[in-house]
C-alpha cells in the first residue's frame, strides 16, 4: 500500500509538471496579454512595450517559465501583472469561500441523494422513484443561473426571507448565522444539480448490484431484505459512487462560476473567469496547479476508499497479478 502510494504520488508529480508546461504554453499562446487588457489601445504601442518590459513579459517564454517554476518550488505562486498583488493572497481566501459553498452543496446533496437513491432502487417506479426522477430532470435541465435568479426574485426580493447575494452582511462578517442565511439560496441551486446526478448514480449502482446472482442467492436463502440491501449490496454499490465522488473533488475548489456570479459569491469560479479575461498568467497557472493537485488527490482517495469499502480490492504491487 505504502509503496503503491509513493509510486502514485511520484507519477502524479510528473503529470502535474507536464501539465504546467502545457498550460503555460497554451495560456501564453492566447492572443492578447496583460498589457493589452490593462492599457487602453488609444495609447502608443511604446507604452505597451514599456509596460511589458517593466513586468518582465518581454522575456522569452522559456525564461518566463523557469522563473515561474523556480518561484513555485519555493512556494511562491507569483504576482498579478496588473497590480502586483501576491497570487496567494488572492487565491487562498477564494478557495476557502468556494469550499464553504461547494462543500455545503455537496454535503447536502449527498446526504439526500445516496439514501434516497438506494431507497428508490428497492422500490423502482414507485411514487418516491418517480418524484426523484422528476427532480433529477429538473436538476439537469434547469440552467443554474436562471434558477438562481428565480430564487432571488422570489425568496429574496419579494418575500425578503434570505439575503440576495454576497457571503456576509456588511458588519456581520464573523457571524455563522449570517453566513448560513447567505448560503441557503446558492446551496439550493448547486445542490439541485449535484443531487440529480448522485441520485441517479446511487440508484443505478444499487439496481445493478441487486441484480447480481449472489443477491439472488442470499434472497433465496431467506436472508432478510434489509440485510440483503445494507449488508450485501450496499458495499459493492458504493464503489462506483466513490469513483464519481473522487473525480468530482476538484469541483469543491474549482467553484461554479455562474452560480458564484449570480450570488456575488467571492469564490474561485468567478475569479478564474476574471483572471482569464485579464490574461493574468500567474493566476491562471495557480488555478491549474491547484485543480491538478485536487484531481490527483481525488483519484488517490477514490482508490484508497475502494479498499476501505471492499476489502477484496487489493491495490496491486508492482509485479502483482490481476485477478
Amino acid at each position: 500500500m505504502t509503496e503503491y502510494l509513493i509510486r502514485r504520488v511520484l507519477q502524479s508529480v510528473l503529470v502535474i509538471f507536464l501539465i504546467t508546461i502545457l498550460t503555460f504554453l497554451l495560456i501564453h499562446a492566447a492572443p492578447g496579454g496583460p498589457t493589452q487588457v490593462m492599457l487602453a489601445p488609444g495609447l502608443t504601442p511604446e507604452i505597451f512595450e514599456q509596460q511589458a518590459k517593466n513586468l518582465g513579459l518581454d522575456q522569452p517564454i522559456h525564461i518566463q517559465y523557469f522563473h515561474w517554476i523556480g518561484d513555485l518550488l519555493q512556494g511562491d505562486l507569483g504576482y498579478t501583472f496588473k497590480n502586483h498583488i501576491a497570487i496567494s493572497d488572492l487565491l487562498w481566501p477564494r478557495i476557502g469561500n468556494t469550499v464553504i459553498l461547494m462543500g455545503a452543496a455537496w454535503l447536502v446533496s449527498l446526504l439526500i441523494a445516496i439514501p434516497w437513491g438506494i431507497y428508490n432502487s428497492t422500490k423502482v417506479y414507485g411514487l418516491s422513484d418517480q418524484t426523484a426522477s422528476f427532480i433529477s430532470y429538473l436538476g439537469f435541465a434547469m440552467p443554474t443561473f436562471w434558477f438562481g435568479i428565480l430564487l432571488q426574485q422570489w425568496l429574496s426580493l419579494k418575500l425578503d426571507w434570505f439575503p440576495l447575494s454576497d457571503m456576509h452582511t456588511r458588519g456581520k462578517e464573523g457571524s455563522i448565522a449570517d453566513l448560513f442565511m447567505h448560503l441557503v439560496l446558492p446551496v439550493t441551486v448547486l445542490a439541485l444539480g449535484f443531487l440529480a446526478s448522485y441520485m441517479k448514480y446511487a440508484r443505478a449502482s444499487m439496481l445493478e448490484v441487486l441484480d447480481q446472482d449472489y443477491i439472488r442467492t442470499a434472497r433465496a436463502k431467506g436472508v432478510k431484505e434489509r440485510k440483503v440491501v445494507f449488508r450485501h449490496a450496499l458495499r459493492n454499490a458504493l464503489i462506483p459512487i466513490i469513483t464519481i465522488l473522487g473525480l468530482d473533488l476538484p469541483i469543491l475548489v474549482g467553484g461554479a462560476a455562474l452560480t458564484e456570479n449570480v450570488f456575488n459569491w467571492p469564490g474561485m469560479g468567478r475569479w478564474f473567469v476574471e483572471m482569464a479575461t485579464a490574461r493574468e498568467y500567474s493566476a491562471l497557472m495557480a488555478v491549474t496547479i491547484v485543480t491538478a493537485v485536487m484531481v490527483v488527490i481525488g483519484n488517490l482517495l477514490a482508490d484508497i476508499l475502494y479498499v476501505v469499502v471492499d476489502p477484496r480490492v487489493k491495490l496491486g504491487k508492482q509485479g502483482g497479478k490481476a485477478a
Partner: protein, 581 residues
C-alpha cells in the same frame, strides 16, 4: 484630448448586456418629489417617501454610509497608472485634482481642487503657471507642494514609467518650481488641450521619490491602502479584493468644503445584472450603469431614481483603407461616394430609437453634440435613404451581380467582415442592423464578434481588419482627435488603425491644438467637422450613455446632481451629497 481617450469597450466587454439608456431623466434632487410609483409600490418600511424623507432630504446631514458599486474591481489607483473605470472611480473619492470640471466641462479651481486659481497661461501659450492652495495636505499630514506636481508631471512624461498619462504630458518641455506652492510648466509647442491635462490627480513626491520609474507598477502605492497616501476628502481604508473598498472621510481633510458622508463603500458585483438586483434590494445605493433591458423594470420598482442622458461616448463604424486587408489587395472603401452611400444606407435613427430606446444623439463628426466644438449644420448629415445610397454606389462604379444581387466592381464583390467585441449585446444588435441595411443596397456584411483582448492584440492595434464597430469614450471635453485620424498615427505608431490619410485634416488637427484662442479653435473644428463628415473615415453613429441609478437614501442639491456627460460624472460633486438612514 484624443490621446486621453480610452476604449469604453474595454469595460463593456466585461458586461453581460450593453449599457444603454432610455426615457426621460429623474434624479434625487433635494426637494423634488419622488416619482409617483414610489409612493404606491414602495415597501412598508420606506412608504410615503415624500412625508418621511422630505425634511432630511432637504437639509444635508453629516454621517452615514454610501454604498456605491461597480462590476469590476480596481487595478491600481496610483494616479500615474489609473487606466480603467473602477480604479478611476475609487481615485475620484480619495484624490484631489489640480483642477476640476464644472457641469459644462469648463476647467475650474474649485474649493476641493488643489490649485488656488486657474492657471496663468502666457501670451504665447507656452507656459502655464499653477498656484497651489497653501492649505492642501496629504493624508499623512504633509503639505501638498510644488515638488509633488513636478514629480507627477516628470513621472507621467517619463517613457520608462509606462504611464497612460504620457500622451497628455509628452509635450511638456520643462516643469520648474517657482516657490513651494507655485509651478511653471513650459510646453515644447502650443498645445491647447493641455489645460484639460491639468484636471489631474497628483502623487506625493515625499512617498514615491525613491521609486524607479520602471518599478512604479510593482510599488504598493496604489494597491495597498496602508501605503497609499492620498489628498482627497475620503481615505482609502480597506480593500477586500474582488469584494469591496472602504473609504472613510478623512478627519484631517484640508478643504473648506467637507464631505457629509462619513463612509463610502465601493462594492464589486460580478456583473451588471447582479448589481441591478442589489440596488433593487437596497444592498447598494448607487450604480453607474443599468443595462437598457432592465431600465423599465427598475423604474417600475419605484424606489430607484434614474438619471439618463447621453454620455461622453460615441459609437462608429471604422473603415479600413489599407488594401492589404482585402482579397487581392483591393480596398472596398476607397471611393468617397461608396462611404457616403454606406452612411445613407444605415438607419442610424432606427438604431437610436430601437436599440438605444430613444436616448442617444446622432453624430456626424467626432465632436459631442452641444459642446463648443460641435460643428452643427456645417457637418454633413446622412439621412437614411437606400435609394440615394444605391445611386451613389452606381456612380462609384458598383454594379449588381445578376446571380445574387451583391454589388461587383472590377471583378470584386462588395462583401466585407465587420468586427466587434464579443459579449456586448448592444453592438451585436447594431451589427445585425448594419448587416440588414447594407444587404438592402447590395452589400454583404459578415459580422464577427471576437474576444476583446484577442481582438485588440490581433486586429485593432495592428490595423488588421476590414471594418469594425466600436466606440470612443472621451475623458476630457477637448475636441482634439489627431491621434485617431491623423496619418501621423498609423499603426504601429498610433491609433489611426484604419490607415486613413487626409492631408487637409492632418493639418487642421495641428492647427486646432496650436492655438489657445477659443474662437479660432471653434472655427477650425467647424472646418474639421465639414471635411471629416464629407470624407467619412468613420460612419459616426450616435452618442450614447448609461443610466445611473440611485436608491432613496442618497440626496443632493440640484446643482450637485450626477452629470452623465462628464467622465466620472456619476460622482459629480459627491463631496456635497448626503445620505439618510
Amino acid at each position: 484630448m484624443a490621446k486621453k481617450r480610452k476604449w469604453w469597450s474595454g469595460l463593456l466587454v466585461l458586461s453581460l448586456v450593453g449599457v444603454l439608456f432610455t426615457g426621460c431623466s429623474t434624479n434625487n434632487t433635494a426637494g423634488s418629489s419622488t416619482s409617483a410609483p414610489a409612493a404606491t409600490t414602495a415597501p412598508a418600511e420606506s412608504t410615503a417617501p415624500d412625508a418621511t424623507e422630505a425634511p432630511s432630504a432637504d437639509v444635508p446631514v453629516d454621517g452615514g454610509t454610501l454604498v456605491t458599486s461597480s462590476f469590476s474591481d480596481i487595478v491600481n489607483i496610483n494616479p500615474l497608472l489609473v487606466n480603467d473605470t473602477a480604479s478611476g472611480d475609487v481615485a475620484q473619492f480619495v484624490f484631489a485634482k489640480l483642477y476640476n470640471l464644472d457641469r459644462e466641462g469648463n476647467v475650474q479651481a474649485e474649493d476641493w481642487s488643489l490649485a488656488a486659481a486657474l492657471p496663468e497661461i502666457s501670451e504665447d501659450g507656452l507656459t502655464y503657471t499653477v498656484k497651489l492652495k497653501d492649505t492642501a495636505k496629504w493624508s499623512d499630514g504633509q503639505p501638498v507642494v510644488a515638488d509633488d506636481v513636478i514629480y507627477t508631471v516628470e513621472m507621467a512624461k517619463n517613457k520608462e514609467t509606462g504611464s497612460p498619462l504620457i500622451s497628455a504630458f509628452d509635450k511638456v518641455k520643462s516643469v520648474e518650481k517657482v516657490d513651494d506652492h507655485t509651478v511653471k510648466i513650459t510646453m515644447s509647442q502650443v498645445y491647447a488641450p493641455f489645460l484639460y491635462a491639468l484636471v489631474q490627480e497628483i502623487v506625493p513626491a515625499h512617498v514615491l521619490k525613491d521609486v524607479k520609474p520602471t518599478e512604479m507598477q510593482k510599488n504598493p502605492y496604489g494597491t495597498d491602502p496602508a501605503k497609499t497616501v492620498t489628498s482627497g476628502p475620503w481615505k482609502w481604508t480597506a480593500w477586500k479584493q474582488g469584494e469591496s473598498h472602504t473609504l472613510d472621510a478623512d478627519p484631517n481633510y484640508w478643504g473648506t468644503v467637507k464631505p457629509h458622508i462619513a463612509q463610502v463603500i465601493y462594492k464589486i458585483y460580478a456583473d451588471q445584472n447582479t448589481e441591478v438586483q442589489a440596488i433593487m434590494k437596497g444592498d447598494t445605493d448607487h450604480i453607474s450603469a443599468i443595462p437598457v433591458t432592465q431600465v423599465e423594470a427598475v423604474k417600475a420598482d419605484g424606489k430607484i431614481d434614474i438619471i439618463q442622458k447621453p454620455g461622453a461616448q460615441y459609437e462608429y463604424v471604422n473603415f479600413n483603407f489599407d488594401g492589404k486587408n482585402f482579397p487581392d489587395g483591393y480596398g472596398l472603401f476607397q471611393g468617397q461616394k461608396t462611404r457616403q452611400a454606406i452612411a445613407h444606407a444605415l438607419n442610424r435613427q432606427g438604431m437610436v430609437d430601437n436599440i438605444l430606446k430613444g436616448v442617444g444623439a446622432l453624430m456626424n463628426a467626432p465632436f459631442l453634440p452641444d459642446t463648443w466644438a460641435d460643428p452643427g449644420d456645417a457637418a454633413v448629415n446622412y439621412d437614411y435613404n437606400a435609394e440615394t445610397a444605391k445611386k451613389l454606389l452606381a456612380e462609384d462604379g458598383w454594379v449588381a451581380d445578376a446571380k445574387d444581387g451583391i454589388l461587383v466592381k472590377d471583378g470584386h464583390r462588395f462583401s466585407f467582415e465587420l468586427q466587434y467585441n464579443a459579449g456586448n449585446s448592444r453592438r451585436e444588435q447594431v451589427a445585425a442592423v448594419i448587416q440588414q441595411n447594407l444587404k438592402d443596397v447590395g452589400i454583404e456584411v459578415k459580422p464577427k464578434a471576437i474576444d476583446f483582448a484577442a481582438w485588440i492584440d490581433q486586429n485593432v492595434t495592428p490595423g488588421k481588419y476590414q471594418a469594425l464597430l466600436l466606440a470612443w469614450s472621451l475623458n476630457t471635453p477637448d475636441p482634439d482627435a489627431e491621434s485617431i485620424f491623423s496619418s501621423k498615427y498609423f499603426p504601429p505608431a498610433g491609433q489611426n488603425s484604419g490607415w486613413y490619410k487626409n492631408e487637409k485634416l492632418d493639418k487642421l488637427w495641428v492647427d486646432g491644438y496650436s492655438t489657445v484662442d477659443q474662437a479660432k479653435r471653434k472655427e477650425i473644428y467647424k472646418e474639421v467637422g465639414k471635411e471629416i463628415s464629407t470624407d467619412l473615415p468613420y460612419v459616426f453613429l450616435y452618442q450614447y450613455g448609461q443610466a445611473i441609478g440611485t436608491g432613496p437614501r442618497v440626496h443632493w442639491a440640484e446643482e450637485d446632481a450626477p452629470e452623465p456627460s462628464l467622465g466620472y460624472g456619476q460622482f459629480f460633486h459627491a463631496i456635497k451629497w448626503w445620505v439618510t438612514e
